[in-house]
Symmetry: C2
Subunit: 301 residues, 2 copies
């Protein structure tokens, strides 16, 4: 299946770049080597790299020339650092209390709670270090600032962090559909949309292209989260590499809990179709974005 | 005492700006109001605002004209957000387990551990949102990127976060003086120096001025941390607003633990003198920086 080859190639590109940017040499790490090892453990624990890949694919959908690695890859890597930090903090005993992630012990199991909190804090800070480092990217300053702002807004209290706070506050509670939608949109959707916008801005997208990609991002983000919820409800722990059924046992606000499996799958399918419609004025350079949207749905069963 | 009036005036300026930038209106906060309230609680719990004040004072020491508020204040506020997030995370049960800060219950006592972790994550993200928001500052993009990079580097794994990791790793352990120095330099010194550098860069400091202010920052940061250690060892909980003697009971790496009270006080005094020498080529516009350095030492007894 072609999309799987594309995703695996892109994943390798992202991981090579992460290795390059993540303070690999001991001389750079100095006295902080043990702390940085904790950051690297989670960063290289086998993620799907979907946010950086979406960033690269959005850039490629816009660009009129091959994009130099130095323009998009530092941004893609920063997005993965932010995603990884959010997983480390979400897994903490005080939050979701997960021992297993991607089939491996979570950060606090290996490095203790303090070590895991600081590994997360370090990855979030590193993302902005990377985004603002003039040696790491050749993009003009104005574009980089716009990208930093998109990402900071999406990662923070009106986005991912706020969504996690909302999610935890509503465990084991009745809530209206609007709350479920707000949790999904902020906790997962915001950073996915920002990943796409960051790639688009870097590649010089015009306003109408940005609007279309924003719509694509929101729909793909929604589909992605519903599919994640569906897998948590229907797959095994072995298939997932993390605890299956944990959403239900925690009384989490999910689409399957609210609408059941079939209606949730229909909603994910509709979101994927809406994402494809958003790309209707894009040429074949946007095919990877189209294929990613379709692939997300195939994961749902 | 004139410096006390100066500090209290500057503190008011910073707090007014924090109020302006910190999503005060309920309509902006929307569904995230409870989470943002937790962020605001710690941010407005009565800090000394020494980092933002140093940022403003460094800018004023350089500027050839009165600096518009829009140039320095968003940066000053971002620094205070980062400092506050670090206190929230340091106080967590998994870290220093402090119930009291500035005479008030710490974040996790009021909002639970998950709420406190997320309040910290939110404040760190918000700092970079503020620094990159084109509506909040009139500084040119290149300068803002340089400032963001200074701050991100100082806040992260090669600075404050790395220093906290090192500090925790060395509790109740024997260690060489170099380790104590590395902990102080990264955990406290880095963000203090970055605060000064951020103000200096914003105000257009030349390279030799930046070098002098960097030296001033390192020495003031050292004096500040030694005095903090001295107060922890010698003052009462009531005077401090947080648990006195906690460093000793935790076996923390401090100057008093290593050298005793008198030698530590001498070292702080020398650092203040070095900070003043670093400013020797600056005119009277740098007097607040000089007075702050001297004031830090007067707090030591």
């Amino acid at each position: 299946m072609e999309i799987k080859i594309y995703l695996s190639e892109q994943r390798l590109i992202v991981e090579k770049a992460l290795e390059q940017y993540m303070l690999a040499s001991e001389s750079e790490q100095g006295v902080f080597a043990a702390h940085i090892e904790a950051m690297r453990y989670s960063l290289f624990a086998g993620g799907k790299r979907i946010r950086p890949i979406l960033c690269l694919a959005a850039g490629a959908a816009i660009a009129h020339r091959p994009t130099p690695d130095t323009e998009l890859l530092p941004i893609a890597c920063a997005l993965e650092c932010i995603h990884t930090y959010s997983l480390i903090h979400d897994d903490l005993p005080a939050m979701d209390n997960d021992d297993l992630r991607r089939g491996k012990p979570t950060s606090h199991i290996l490095y203790g709670e303090a070590g895991a909190i600081l590994a997360g804090d370090g990855l979030l800070s590193w993302a902005f270090d990377l985004l603002s480092n003039k040696n790491s990217t050749s993009l003009p300053a104005e574009k980089r600032l716009a990208i930093i702002h998109h990402i900071a807004r999406a990662a923070g209290s009106l986005g991912m962090v706020g969504g996690q706070a909302l999610d935890i506050a509503h465990e084991n509670q009745e809530f209206p559909f609007e709350t479920l939608r707000a949790i999904h949109k902020s906790k997962t959707g915001a950073l996915i949309t920002a990943s796409i916008m960051a790639g688009a801005i870097a590649a010089g997208a015009g306003l109408s292209q940005q609007e279309a990609l924003h719509c694509y991002g929101e729909q793909v983000g929604l589909a992605f989260q519903i599919v994640d919820d569906l897998l948590n409800a229907t797959a095994t722990t072995e298939q997932l590499g993390k605890a299956a059924g944990s959403d239900a046992s925690r009384g989490k606000a999910t689409y399957p809990a609210y609408f059941g499996i079939d209606a949730s799958r229909d909603t994910a399918k509709t979101a994927v179709n809406n994402a494809l419609i958003a790309l209707k004025n894009f040429d074949e350079k946007a095919d990877p974005l189209r294929d990613i949207a379709k692939y997300i749905f195939t994961r749902s069963h």
